[in-house]
């Protein structure tokens, strides 16, 4: 690999960086201050439209709070859950489809975030089980009553 050609001398870069830093510092501080404000107004605020809020609520109840233990983001006080609630409400308000929002969150955090298991090869047994159980139940009942009819 060739070394990149130095067009601007190192020292100039450093000075510019220092200047930028000095200029940016107040902004950075205010950004920090904002972190301690509730950064996500919709974490604890409902959407004005009750239909949209119901949609958001239904979705939030099926999303896992990643910082908690076995809680949905709809019932967690963790800041991260608050952020996620804010995201969900904003996106619902913007007219996004709930399943699209779920897809977006799964892309970011993995399948773990969704309490609704996604239909994939690894979860096929989960969805096959009820069918298998029902078939087993039918077999068991049939066998028993056939015998019973003979008796």
């Amino acid at each position: 690999m060739r070394r990149p050609i130095q067009i601007v001398p190192q020292i100039v870069v450093q000075i510019v960086a220092a200047l930028l830093f000095a200029v940016a510092l107040p902004f950075a501080q205010s950004a920090q201050a904002q972190d301690s404000l509730p950064p996500a107004p919709y974490a604890y605020k409902q959407l004005a439209d009750p239909q949209q809020e119901a949609k958001a609520q239904a979705l939030m109840e099926t999303l896992r709070c990643l910082k908690c233990q076995s809680q949905s983001i709809a019932d967690s006080d963790a800041p991260m859950a608050g952020d996620m609630r804010h995201q969900v409400r904003m996106r619902i308000a913007a007219g996004e489809d709930p399943e699209a929002i779920r897809g977006w969150l799964i892309e970011r955090y993995g399948d773990y975030v969704s309490y609704t298991p996604q239909v994939k090869p690894i979860t096929w047994p989960l969805f096959g089980a009820p069918v298998v159980f029902l078939a087993l139940a039918a077999l068991l009942l049939r066998g028993r009553f056939r015998k019973g009819d003979r008796a």
Partner: protein, 649 residues
């Protein structure tokens, strides 16, 4: 001194359990028959020793003896009396000692009172019980000694997790444990009867009170646990399908199935192998539950014991008991015939349907709970939650509840559908009409809640039909128990469906003086004030809720701060009206000085727990009826024996 005494008693009890097992096995052989006499006294003594050992631990907690490691880690001198007491079992070691105590005391009780079983079956049962106890003694003494001392006692203890400092939770674990242990007795009976090939009505009658009792306690434990989660966690949910909740639900499902099949065996001598199998499954589910909770394999709200060596120990016990029991079952199943036959339209058939469907739900809950662990082993993390459990379990539960409208009306062995069709048709029509009405008038509530409300309405009426044409004063207690328990199912189902369909939520940032609308109520934040409790301080909001011109209800939600160990907890405020509950939570203070408030109006939500209590009451009545009948029979046989004795002289 007290700690050493407790430990010594525990070792002695373990030795007695070993003696009980060995003597029991030997006594079952012809040449060991003279050993049979010691088994009952040994079982009783073992129970007494463990009970005293457990009382020693309670004493250590009540006196806050900080030289004992367990006390130092889990208690604090400034804790209120009741939480010092509850602290005894609010930790891993103490809760396992409680488990062993209940188990051995119950075993001693069986040895003391059981007279109906064949003597060899009873010996095999007590040997089985000793075998199960020995595993838990080993677990306690080798891997979780509750009496270990500290070289240097600390100045004060660590305290108890604030979430657990709640009166409901103080008695929630013991209640569940009594249930689990009752199932261990049922398991021992099943093993005993398998060993001596004595699976029949006498065995079922001996086992039934234990199953009933265990089931009553499990029902109460789950109901109370659900209510605890509802008001403590402060988000208005009452069931999360959390793995730890599922761990308590699975034994309940198996016990419910067992309860119904043991009744068939007791009165009809049918479903023999199936009942024994369920006895094994029910205890397996208790063990699986204990493993899930105690091993820390799940990290959930409840898992406060995290230690893999313990998990391995419980898993080994699980494998030994369940594997052994299944092996025995496999070896003996061919000698246990299914028993009396019955036709498609009969009470037995309805009960078989109930059993099969309950097992279906059990399978779903077990799979859904373990599935994330399985996929994690393959490096994929998935979550299985309410969107899976609710509809999939409904596939099994709703048909079962529909059959429940008919089942108790049918006769044993064989019946004609025409005999019961008129009243059942009325109830079914009611269910359909209510379902249609709810679907028509409450838009967008979803099909499951509407179905739930419809079936609850039909079942609410149908559950009383077995009393039709009976002299109520002469109706046996177990029939009353059945009717009330089934009515409780309808009540609970109605509460669940109503909560899920009609709850309204209001989140708001409020200044004192602000008002919000939640459901039919106008809520006003009227004030904020600091308050102090025995070991916490709190901010308390005063909220007035008005409905029309009626006098306002006052609610006081709190945000509590605990000092030892440091922690916060919201204390939600609840007001119950005949038609629902108003729920208020005080959140944090925002930058603008307004308070985050959360409100819910939950129509008919208390029905969930009233229903649970009714179910438990039904079980209790059935238990009382059975025990009273047993006592009467015992007295009668004693009289006969006494008369024979006198005549013989």
């Amino acid at each position: 001194m007290i700690a050493e005494l407790g430990l010594a008693l525990l070792w002695m009890a373990a030795a007695l359990a070993a003696l009980q097992l060995i003597a029991g096995v030997l006594a079952l052989r012809p040449q060991g028959a003279q050993l049979a006499g010691i088994i009952r006294p040994v079982a009783v003594m073992q129970g007494v020793l463990v009970l005293v050992s457990f009382m020693a631990l309670i004493d250590l907690f009540l006196t806050t003896d900080l030289s004992v490691k367990l006390v130092a880690e889990n208690s604090h001198s400034a804790k209120p009396f009741i939480f010092k007491l509850a602290g005894t079992w609010g930790n891993h070691e103490g809760s396992m000692l409680l488990w062993v105590t209940i188990m051995s005391v119950a075993g001693g009780f069986v040895a003391l009172i059981e007279k109906r079983l064949r003597e060899d079956t009873l010996i095999a049962t007590l040997a089985g019980q000793a075998f199960v106890s020995l595993g838990f003694y080993a677990f306690l003494l080798l891997a979780s000694n509750p009496f270990a001392r500290l070289a240097e006692p600390p100045a004060d203890g660590n305290g108890l997790n604030p979430l657990l400092q709640d009166i409901g939770l103080a008695f929630h674990p013991p209640t569940l444990y009594v249930g689990y242990v009752g199932l261990s007795i049922a398991f021992s009976f099943a093993i005993g009867a398998l060993v001596t090939r004595d699976v029949g009505p006498a065995f079922a009658r001996a086992m039934r009170p234990w199953v009933l009792g265990a089931w009553v306690f499990l029902t109460l434990g789950i109901t109370a646990g659900s209510y605890w989660a509802y008001y403590t966690l402060g988000w208005g949910g009452w069931w999360f399908w959390d793995p730890v909740e599922n761990a308590s639900l699975m034994p309940w499902l198996a016990a419910t199935a067992l309860l119904h099949s043991v009744s068939v065996l007791a009165s009809r001598n049918a479903l023999r192998a199936w009942t024994v199998m369920l006895g094994v499954v029910a205890f397996s589910m208790s063990m699986v539950g204990t493993f899930l909770v105690r091993s820390g394999i799940l990290t959930s709200v409840h898992a406060f014991a995290v230690d893999p060596t313990r998990g391995g120990f419980i898993l080994a016990l699980l494998a030994i008991y369940i594997g052994g029991a299944l092996l025995l079952f496999g070896l003996r199943a061919s000698t246990v015939t299914e028993g009396a036959r019955f036709s498609f339209v009969s009470r037995e058939a309805a009960l078989v349907f109930n059993n099969v469907m309950l097992c279906g739900v059990l399978g779903i809950v077990l799979l859904g709970t373990l599935y994330p662990l399985l996929t994690e082993a393959f490096g994929v993390k998935v979550s299985v939650g309410p969107p899976y459990f609710n509809p999939v379990s409904a596939i099994f539960v709703l048909p079962m509840l529909a059959v429940l409208m008919v089942g108790p009306l049918l006769r044993w062995r064989q019946d004609k559908a025409g005999r019961v069709s008129a009243p059942v048709a009325v109830c079914a029509l009611l269910a359909v009409l209510v379902f249609a009405g709810v679907e028509a008038f409450a838009k967008g509530i979803g099909i499951l809640p509407a179905l739930g409300i419809g079936i609850a309405a039909g079942l609410g009426v149908a559950s009383w039909l077995p009393l039709r044409g009976r002299n109520l004063a002469r109706t046996p207690l177990p029939i009353w128990g059945m009717v009330i328990a089934h009515f409780g199912v309808a009540v609970a189902l109605f509460g669940m469906a109503s909560e899920s369909a009609f709850s309204t939520e209001r989140l708001a940032a409020m200044n004192p003086g602000d008002s919000q609308q939640v459901g039919p109520y106008t809520v006003t934040l009227t004030g904020m004030a600091p308050v102090a409790g025995p070991n916490w301080t709190a901010l308390e909001a005063t909220v007035e809720a008005r409905y029309g011109g009626a006098a306002p209800m006052i609610l006081h939600p709190q945000a509590r701060t605990f000092a030892s160990p440091p922690g916060n907890r919201t204390e939600s405020a609840l007001k119950t009206r005949w038609n629902g509950q108003l729920y208020a939570v005080l959140g944090e203070e925002g930058e603008d000085g307004r308070w985050q408030m959360r409100f819910w109006w939950k129509p008919f939500v208390p029905m969930i727990w009233y229903g649970g209590a009714l179910i438990a009451l039904g079980g209790l009545l059935a238990l009382l009826g059975r025990v009273a009948a047993d006592v009467r029979r015992l007295i009668a046989t004693d009289k006969i024996a006494y008369r024979r004795h006198r005549q013989g002289r």
